[in-house]
């Protein structure tokens, strides 16, 4: 009996156009299948259908046949369907219901009527399997994101389900948290579990996956074994779904008539296959912001220690200067001090020592209004920043707090909303926008106040590649056109490489590297201390000694597809 059989499945939310149509999928016992597709294409909806959430919990028009281990989901209750499935979604916070880790893991077994001895065995087994016995008696809200998600995985694993459905379980985690969870998923795959997974970082699960399903235009457009994916590059480009950078590089080199073998996603493996290659020379990267400009933001030897009982020394003697019109990427592991630095920059926290000056003025000496007018802060979750309805009212809320009249604020808002492609939805309730739309709205609501400095915390979380680049391009435009200094806190290294003029890497509260990305990304050993990995093409450039280092796939492609390329057949 196949774990999942979808036969001609379609689905439409009430009153809306069909989201899915004629979906046919079979997932066999022990298979690991990745489901990929652009944002909003219906990946999570398809997983909900497989988990029985649709039609039992979320209603809509479901057509076709869905069988889980041979049972028709329409004819069985959600509780019975779910008893065979472990489901993990994006936000671990919404999947933890108990206070103590052991209780959380035991809870699913209690619900299934396990005896106490069985629960103890299941609990110990799950803790061991995911290598978290040390978390057994910890309080769940004190755990890091990666630890929380591993507890969620353990809680789903403990009752021994036959199928795992994982909906982008690493998307809200920092690099180390994601790595911890991926290790857990790897253990599940290696022990023969059947897994259907949506994972935005396909390169991270590349070696585990047997097959990849590409969901686009409401249906499965491609169902191919992993090894054959680079033959379907057009389908991925059409769907705006990135293949692992080096896999795509190999495919595009072949498209250009260069004889190279299929490249693996890891830079070491790819570099070995491209060993002895001659690379076309390229001029050094031109700095977008001319050197010698006076700094706009001066971080003058600041340290910050949280008050008792926490007492953590979150920042230690940070010094850096950022000129007007520059885009700075701040990177580092969670807990490295990124957010604390951002809060000191925005004046929300007062450094224990040292000072932050913007255009020569100490941020902490400014009033709340002045600070808002000087340093704009866009928080990670756009939903925490929506205060007014409709969109246009939300955008003018800030300028009006700063004393602008309604007509003045509306005039500025129109310009910003048009630039951010939100003008057509100005009369819509903000919560009716997509996540990407709400993220752009959060940026608009700050940009409209025209602060000289803008700080944006993780602007691309949960966005697809196209939306991420659109948001970053917009921030770069703001910096170039208005002369704003833009500071972006992010874990997305490919965006730092492509869009930032400068990057700062923090580790345990210290600034360990600062400079242009092509310089900072050279020292992989140093960056590893804070769990930062350069983009795969840059790491490949490091291994092949390319000067300057390629920062984007196109960059690497141009250099490797030059006329002097010589590649040995693998």
């Amino acid at each position: 009996m196949d774990p999942i059989t979808l036969d001609g499945v379609g689905f439409a939310f009430p009153g809306l156009q069909p989201l899915l149509r004629d979906v046919n999928v079979k997932v066999g016992e022990g298979e690991v299948v990745a489901l990929v597709g652009p944002t909003g294409c219906g990946k999570s909806t398809l997983l909900h259908i497989c988990a029985g959430v649709i039609p039992h919990f979320i209603t809509g028009e479901l057509t076709g046949e869905v069988h889980i281990f041979g049972t028709n989901t329409k004819e069985t209750s959600l509780a019975r369907i779910a008893a065979d499935i472990g489901t993990v979604t994006q936000d671990p916070e919404n999947q933890l219901f108990n206070l103590i880790v052991a209780d959380e893991i035991a809870w699913g077994m209690e619900n299934r009527g396990f005896e106490r001895a069985e629960i103890r065995r299941g609990l110990d087994g799950a803790l061991e399997f995911f290598r978290i016995p040390h978390l057994r008696d910890r309080i769940t809200y004190d755990l890091s994101g990666g630890e929380k998600q591993r507890v969620v995985l353990s809680a789903n694993y403990a009752p021994a389900p036959r199928l795992f459905i994982l909906d982008d379980p690493t998307s809200q985690l920092d690099p180390i948290g994601a790595q911890q969870v991926l290790t857990g998923i790897q253990a599940l795959a290696e022990s023969g579990h059947t897994i259907l997974v949506v994972e935005s970082k396909l390169e991270e699960i590349w070696s585990l996956v047997d097959r990849v399903l590409l969901l686009h235009n409401g249906t499965i457009e491609l169902d191919a074994p992993r090894a054959e994916l680079d033959r379907h590059l057009d389908a991925f480009i059409e769907a705006n779904v990135p293949l692992p950078q080096l896999v795509e590089l190999g495919a595009r080199l072949r498209e250009r008539g260069v004889s190279v073998p299929a490249l693996p996603p890891d830079p070491d493996g790819a570099a070995a296959l491209l060993d002895g290659v001659r690379v076309t020379a390229a001029p050094a990267h031109e700095p977008a912001v001319p050197s010698g400009k006076p700094p706009r933001v001066v971080v003058d030897n600041i340290s910050y220690t949280y008050p008792p009982p926490r007492r953590t020394e979150a920042l230690k003697e940070i010094r850096l200067e950022v000129p007007a019109g520059a885009v700075l990427g701040v990177v580092g592991q969670n807990g490295s001090g990124k957010t604390t630095l951002a809060r000191c920059l925005s004046g929300h926290l007062k450094p224990t020592s040292g000072a932050v000056r913007i255009d020569g003025k100490d941020v902490r000496r400014m009033s709340v209004r002045n600070r808002a007018a000087t340093v704009g802060y866009v928080f990670q979750n756009p939903d925490h920043q929506i205060f007014k309805d409709p969109v246009v009212e939300d955008v003018i809320y800030g300028p009006m707090n700063l004393g602008a009249t309604r007509p003045e604020a509306t005039r500025t808002a129109e310009r910003v909303l048009r630039a951010l492609d939100l003008w057509d939805v100005r009369d819509v309730h903000p919560f009716r926008l997509s996540k990407g739309g709400r993220q752009r709205l959060a940026i608009a609501a700050i940009a409209v106040m025209q602060p000289p400095v803008m700080i944006i915390d993780e602007p691309t979380t949960g966005q697809d590649l196209q939306e991420s680049h659109a948001i970053m391009s917009l921030l770069v435009d703001l910096a170039r056109e208005v002369g704003q200094t833009v500071i972006v806190i992010t874990h997305a290294m490919h965006l730092v490489a492509e869009h930032c003029d400068l990057m700062a890497a923090l580790c345990e509260g210290r600034l360990i590297a600062f400079g242009p990305p092509d310089q900072v990304f050279r020292d992989e050993e140093l960056l590893r201390r804070t769990y930062v990995k350069p983009p795969a093409v840059t790491a490949l450039g490091n291994r092949l000694g390319m000067e300057p280092r390629p920062l984007t796939l196109e960059d690497a492609l141009e250099r490797l597809a030059g006329p002097s390329l010589k590649v040995a057949e693998a």
């Binding site: 959430v53 919990f57 209750s77 959600l78 509780a79 019975r80 779910a82 008893a83 499935i85 489901t87 979604t89 916070e93 919404n94 999947q95 219901f97 108990n98 206070l99 103590i100 052991a102 209780d103 035991a106 699913g108 209690e110 619900n111 299934r112 009527g113 396990f114 106490r116 629960i119 103890r120 309080i139 769940t140 809200y141 004190d142 809680a155 789903n156 008050p307 008792p308 009982p309 925005s346 709340v368 209004r369 808002a372 802060y377 866009v378 928080f379 939903d383 925490h384 920043q385 929506i386 205060f387 007014k388 309805d389 809320y397 800030g398 707090n401 919560f431 609501a445 700050i446 106040m449």
Partner: protein, 268 residues
């Protein structure tokens, strides 16, 4: 500083007591605070108990004390000026209006203020030393339906998250040039609360839908479906020390009540 009313997660004498014991102790303590003439003693006794029997110094929950201070002060001031003396501590005449501060008013105000403070502190003790799920399961043992008991405990589990979310929203409001939530002006503060309620409320609705779905998927309704009883992995049982403390709390309450009622030992 942890969010107010959050379980401290330590291991101490108070943490190890059964939630039912602590609940009965807290209720008796509150009633006792209305019987004794010096409620401030009970207030400080409670701070000492939290410190020495639970290992939580006042620095860990000082925001609560700071929150109580203006309320206690306001109560004292109202009584100070509204209750007539003598003796009078201060008098003044503003035109035809006589204003006076009386010693009995100060006494009554202080007593009421400290009683209120004791009440809040007693519940803080309970919340900081009681794991919500132990509390929920002990109520389940006393006959509350499982889902009600579980949801009750889960609501407490969510409280720190919502508090944290509120702080983020407060900062987001400041980033938009509004300092309403830090204002002492009610005409600024309350509209600010309404404005911040939008993201907080909609976020809570979204979160609750996700959580309800996740609970279903983890089998919340499976025992009803299968008709199998639910086995509690970590059961809650009353120990002899719990029973002894419960009895002692009730006995002290009854003794003080009787002393006041029948012997006039405590002045009214």
């Amino acid at each position: 500083m942890r969010p107010l009313y959050q379980f401290s997660g330590q291991d101490s004498f108070l943490h190890r007591l059964d939630p039912r014991t602590k609940l009965i102790f807290v209720l008796c303590y509150l009633l006792i605070s209305f019987l004794v003439p010096q409620p401030w003693v009970l207030f400080f006794l409670l701070i000492a108990a939290i410190w020495f029997l639970a290992g939580i110094p006042p620095t860990e929950y000082y925001p609560f004390l700071l929150l109580m201070l203006p309320i206690m002060t306001a109560i004292t001031l109202v009584h100070l000026f509204l209750i007539e003396g003598p003796p009078y501590l201060w008098t003044a005449a503003v035109g035809p209006v006589h204003i006076s501060a009386s010693a009995p008013g100060l006494q009554v105000g202080l007593d009421l203020g400290f009683r209120l403070g004791t009440m809040g502190l007693a519940f803080t003790l309970f919340a900081m030393t009681t794991e919500p799920f132990q509390w929920g399961m002990s109520m389940y043992r006393w006959g509350l339906p499982y889902k009600v008991a579980f949801m009750f405990a889960f609501a407490i589990r969510l409280y720190p998250l919502i508090q944290e979310e509120f702080l983020v929203i407060q900062r987001a409001l400041q980033a938009r040039g509004s300092n309403a939530l830090s204002s002492f002006n009610p005409f600024v503060f309350f509209p600010g609360v309404v404005t911040s309620a939008v993201p907080l409320g909609l976020g809570a609705i979204r979160r609750s839908q996700d959580i309800a779905m996740a609970m279903e998927l983890r089998g919340l309704n499976l025992p009803d479906e299968l008709g199998k009883p639910r086995v509690l992995f970590r059961d809650v049982r009353l120990r002899p020390i719990d029973i002894a403390l419960m009895c002692a709390s009730v006995a002290v309450l009854v003794a003080l009540f009787s002393a006041r009622q029948f012997t006039g030992w405590f002045p009214r």
